[in-house]
């Protein structure tokens, strides 16, 4: 199956604007909110959400970035190693409403790792999850609070999020892969 584009740049923008509104609605404004993006593509998404809220509410929301490599549940079973990148959360998250941002929500294992990583940094009042794409197939009892777009997928399909900050272009595509993605198992 060739690559099929599901969302283009303006679709992504519209989804993020709606998510930003929902975040403000749920938290009754932008007071005490902080964003933490999961590396790599959760970080630019968090920055975009912060920019949208800034234009609506005239408040600057701090944005941090989280590397979850050291918290993965498969470090000892993967044959490949992964580069550990820097976590940069230069503000106190304790007693804040922390919005965790990621691009694709799939098995839930990344989020599990991110929750462990966040708890080591402080004790937020709440942690809420915002994702651009929810593709289903959860393996853990974790759900998202804010979803840009629900895209039901088969396991052997691959969702690819490209963001201009990282990939020079904004788009979300789906592609069927041979025999599924074994690395997730």
């Amino acid at each position: 199956m060739p690559e099929k584009t599901l969302l283009n740049s303006s679709d992504i923008e519209r989804a993020l604007v709606r998510v930003a509104h929902e975040i403000l609605e749920r938290n009754k404004g932008a007071v005490n909110i902080v964003f933490v993006g999961i590396k790599t593509r959760g970080v630019p998404l968090a920055q975009r959400l912060a920019a949208i809220i800034r234009s609506m509410e005239q408040v600057d929301i701090p944005v941090g970035s989280l590397d979850i490599t050291l918290y993965r549940d498969d470090v000892s079973s993967l044959s490949f190693k992964h580069v550990v990148q820097q976590t940069y959360v230069p503000f106190d998250i304790t007693n804040k409403h922390l919005i965790l941002v990621d691009d694709v929500f799939y098995t839930g294992r990344s989020i599990r790792a991110a929750l462990d990583a966040l708890i080591d940094l402080g004790r937020p009042e709440t942690i809420q999850l915002a994702v651009l794409i929810d593709r289903g197939h959860r393996e853990l009892p974790i759900r998202a609070d804010f979803v840009g777009k629900n895209i039901p997928t088969a396991r052997n399909e691959e969702i690819k999020v490209c963001l201009s900050e990282v990939d020079a272009v904004d788009k979300v595509t789906v592609m069927r892969t041979e025999g599924g993605n074994n690395e997730l198992k």
Partner: protein, 336 residues
């Protein structure tokens, strides 16, 4: 540009946050002569991430949970051993430390038998220090367990070399065309040897400064044989430190001076001690390093060691971060 930026993100997003490393092939860390630029940079990039953990209130991540790291030291050590053990603990591993003088070695057990016992106990990596050059190589040949050399005789001390270069890069950024002087007992220094190999990738100048008797025989030939063109030898300290960005002072290994390599301690101090009046002849922003342990008043004066130009404390902190990176790369992931 960091390594992670230079490689495109992977398509299957949830499999990983960072790019995967397929070029890391080391099962052991014995010396830096077999470390490529790419591998050295990788250690530094991961160490950057580890520095952040050392700043946290809760200095613990679960990465190596369930792994066991053993330290086996046949020579005294404070910082290297403590540094490795803390690094392992911060990554969530369990550690056991064997003091050779109190273990079965004292009853006559051979090196290899001691290490085989550790292997049979299924430790995931052995960090060893030994007074004989090459001992970790014998261990690595005889065992399946990963060996990390924490110093072997006068030969190599790779984790120290890495933390030294990491500290230099942290201070100076790009090391290209920078000048670093290592002064002191080059002859007996495994730290100097590992720094010679480790710095060869960075386009910098490395000056080794010592009295002729403390420069190892055959060093110029070795430098030529392996095209280590970035290294020069200088006997006069004042001309060596001219325009230097960093001066690294080495401990005068008094326990190895019985054979009369220096005429007197006083003369050595006069010629090679790093002190304030000596630094007056160097650049005003020159930085000073020392791998420790220090003989204050011999190779370095206390006012320099604890002064504003000193990086000695940063070296100790960075040592933990760099060793965490090494342990992550060696003991993380599936055993091959």
């Amino acid at each position: 540009m960091s390594l992670s930026e230079s490689r495109p993100g992977t398509a299957t997003r949830e499999t990983l946050p960072g790019p995967s490393i397929d070029f890391w092939k080391h099962r052991h860390v014995l010396d830096l002569d077999d470390f490529s630029r790419e591998e050295t940079d990788l250690v530094f990039e991961i160490a950057e991430g580890m520095v952040e953990i050392l700043d946290r209130d809760v200095k613990k991540v679960p990465t190596l949970r369930g792994k066991t790291i053993a330290t086996m030291f046949f020579e005294p050590s404070t910082r290297t051993r403590a540094s490795f053990e803390l690094a392992a603990k911060y990554l969530g591993a369990d550690t056991i430390s064997l003091d050779a003088t109190r273990s079965s070695v004292a009853k006559g057990e051979s090196l290899i038998d001691s290490l085989r016992t550790l292997q049979a106990l299924e430790v995931d990596a052995i960090i060893m220090r030994h007074p004989c050059s090459g001992a970790p190589y014998i261990a690595a040949r005889s065992l399946d367990t990963s060996i990390i050399n924490a110093g072997d005789g006068c030969h190599a001390h790779p984790s120290q070399g890495l933390l030294d270069i990491f500290t230099m890069k942290q201070q100076l950024g790009d090391l290209k065309d920078r000048k670093v002087v290592i002064v002191g007992d080059i002859m007996h220094s495994r730290v100097a040897r590992s720094n010679i190999w480790g710095t060869r990738h960075y386009g910098m100048k490395l000056v080794l400064c010592a009295p002729p008797t403390l420069i190892p025989h055959g060093l110029p030939e070795m430098l030529e044989k392996y095209s280590l063109n970035h290294v020069t030898i200088e006997h006069n300290l004042d001309s060596a430190i001219e325009n230097a960005d960093i001066i690294m002072s080495l401990r005068l290994q008094k326990e190895r001076q019985q054979s009369g390599l220096i005429s007197s301690l006083r003369e050595y101090i006069q010629g090679y001690q790093i002190n304030m009046s000596r630094l007056a002849g160097a650049k005003p922003d020159v930085l000073v390093m020392h791998p420790g342990p220090m003989n204050e008043g011999t190779e370095i004066s206390p006012d320099v060691a604890y002064g504003t130009r000193s990086l000695i404390e940063q070296q100790v902190t960075n040592g933990v971060a760099v060793r965490m990176a090494l342990l992550y790369l060696i003991a993380g992931g599936k055993n091959r």
